[in-house]
Amino acid sequence: MNRPLARDGSIEAHADLRRRRQARRYLGEFLPAMLGYVLAVPLSLVLLQHIAMPTALKFVVALLPMLPAWFGLRAVLRHLRRLDELEQRIQTQAIGVASLSVGMLTFALGFLQAAGLLPKVAGLLLWVLPAMIAVWGVAVGVISYRYRHGQ
């Protein structure tokens, strides 16, 4: 196998290099997208609140944060494709756990809302994706732990 070795010549150091290179590429794509998102949200709100515009344009401006969000998603998917088979399996299982658990939670909230038992909270739907990402992160930790120590 003709792979360039790390500076200290060891394969082990090169394995760390591989990890760091993966992380650098991911963050190099993901962080600019997140910066764009953080800027797009207040910009969109300010434009909607202070500038008169036709309704069709309001839809476009309201969805402005989706453009950097799409680039963030693209960065995540490209990172997932670079992972090895077990890492991809762990991520897939974690995404499954996150979708089902947050899906069940929003299902329950829907019943409460229909029964008039939920206070009206503006932008409640915006919390669904962050909740899924949070559960996804925890699930990755738990599933990885099981592959290292469990069963």
Partner: protein, 63 residues
């Protein structure tokens, strides 16, 4: 699945990270294979067999 990856790796004097680098997988994956917590895909099993110069059946045994 029972396997002899750890023994074969030790014979070569490789760490798990060394083996991972040679197979283009993470150290975590090598550890999971060696401890029987993860059965590799067929392409990876063939890669392992070719690396150690043994047939697959000599490395992996069904439980």
């Amino acid at each position: 699945m029972k396997n002899f990856v750890r023994d074969l790796r030790s014979e070569q004097g490789w760490s798990q990270a060394d083996l991972g680098e040679r197979l283009d997988v993470s150290r975590q994956t090598v550890n999971a294979i060696e401890t029987g917590k993860y059965d590799p895909s067929l392409p990876l099993a063939f890669k392992i067999a070719r690396l150690f110069g043994r047939p697959i059946e000599a490395i992996f045994e069904p439980d």
